[in-house]
Amino acid sequence: MARRSPLRPPGFDELGLKRALADRMLPSLVAAMAFLAALALAGWVGAAALARHWEQGAGAALTVQVPQPADPAAAGGGSRQDAVLALLRAAPGVAQARALSGAELDALLRPWLGAGPGRRALALPGVIAVRLAAPPPDPPALAALHARLAQAAPGTLMEQQGVWIDRLLALVRSLQASAGAALLVVVAVAAAVIAVATRAGLAARREAIEIVHGLGATDGYIAGRFAARATLLAAAGGVAGGLAALPVLLALAHLAAPFAAGGDAGPAGSAARSLGGTMGGIASGLPPALWLLLPGLPLAAAAIGFLTAQVTVRRWLRQLP
């Protein structure tokens, strides 16, 4: 062991904590926890972005079909389609309602009916594309709106793209909750690991602590020495774990990136797009939220280390007179 000069060294270690809390064990375990926390965070952020996208994007769209659109409406002077359009535009929670033109309908149906005048022979319904405002109206409100539309133009269908989206949304929400729960468990385990290491350090340095306590050191002073050491070690573990997780997260983002390019309109395509956009907006990039959260890992680890050591040491010191 190096000799000390008779000057107080910067890290004056009267309790001998450099040996008692020096094992590589604590930083390694905290690093493993930070690694898991980074993965859970990525899952949480990804799921949250997906949910947001669906709520505001695909989930916020409706299609309304009006059979015999040109026939007169049940009341008033206009056509059935005009009556439905007017009701939709006046309804709260509707951002935009637009009737598809004949040309748009032709384009939509060409794969099935072919080009040409044959289409005109079919009694096609009018199609109105509706964008809902954010936040979208809840299902009872939409049912009430549908009832009013059907009153004005009997036979009007409202097709909510939201049935499968609701299911996916429920799935994503539970994934998000699982990621959150994993995060909480990781925090609890990290605190337990630090508490165990602190208690081992207390047992190893019991005599030194009793001597320093006997010389008039307060509980706060002794707890502070332990907490400083635990904070340092936990922060180091947090940095190591975060750095180790980074290539994994980037690889995940890279794997998700192709979904961003592919995909047609429609549920699967939109889900894949949003997943790709979340996980790999650019091939090398993580979602911005993750870039903000990842540096928080060492800080969180340090905070957990500090608090756990303080509580553990203060509780232990109460056995001394």
Binding site: P6, R8, D13, E207, V212, G214, L215, G216
Partner: protein, 221 residues
């Protein structure tokens, strides 16, 4: 000021056998007392009470004007910093140098490093260990360790100085020097209690004696 009123004490939690029974005496501020008695009489135990390393299980104990039984736990650290103790087994921190061991009370009191360097350097010179300032306790002889323990006990100019067999590992010349230091501190107002088996020393420095036997105070003359 130290005051014992029918103090009893036992080790361990719950009710162990009493090692001190019904001790009553008082030492005025600036007093000097020898603490005498055969091995196992309870001298160290009595000093443990005075260093606030243990609380009495019975009776009333007053140290430096504070009733120890009634004082809240958080009031004790400040009191301890006004008490210097030379332990029978030294109780040095074995991973610190002699310098850092002696400096510890000053650092706990938050003194500046400049003053600490000067004070500790002077104290180590006085106990004849200036050349051994960097040595760790394991590298020191028994007498040298004892002198480090003495230096640590007096460095912060305590109001109450307690010494448990402080000359056990010293030669006669050093023991004599130590006693003169204690008497000098005592003259400057420090209350001093010294537990010892060294009857020669006691005879050479007559003062009031507290005599223990089997945990009882048998004489205070």
């Amino acid at each position: 000021m130290v005051r014992f009123e029918a103090v009893g004490m036992h080790y361990g939690p719950g009710s162990g056998p009493d090692v001190l029974h019904d001790i009553s005496f008082q030492v005025p501020e600036g007093g000097f007392r020898w603490l005498l008695g055969p091995s196992g009489a309870g001298k160290t135990s009595l000093l443990r009470l005075l260093t606030l390393a243990a609380r009495p299980s019975r009776g009333r104990l007053e140290v430096l004007g504070t009733d120890i039984g009634a004082a809240p736990r958080r009031a004790l650290p400040e009191l301890r910093r006004r008490i210097g103790m030379v332990f029978q087994d030294f109780r040095l921190l074995d991973h610190l140098s002699a310098f850092d061991n002696v400096a510890l009370p000053l650092r706990l009191a938050g003194r500046g490093e400049g003053q600490i360097r000067a004070d500790v350097g002077e104290m180590l010179r006085w106990v004849g260990l200036a050349a051994r300032a960097d040595a760790q306790p394991a590298e020191l002889s028994g007498g040298e360790q004892q002198r480090v323990a003495i230096a640590r006990a007096v460095i912060a100019r305590p109001s109450l100085l307690l010494a448990d067999e402080p000359t056990g590992n010293l030669d006669d010349v050093q023991a004599e020097r130590l006693l003169r230091l204690f008497r000098e501190l005592n003259r400057l107002g420090t209350t001093v209690l010294v537990a010892t088996h060294n009857e020669v020393l006691v005879a050479r420095h007559p003062a009031q004696c507290l005599r223990l036997s089997g945990g009882h105070l048998v004489a205070a003359e």
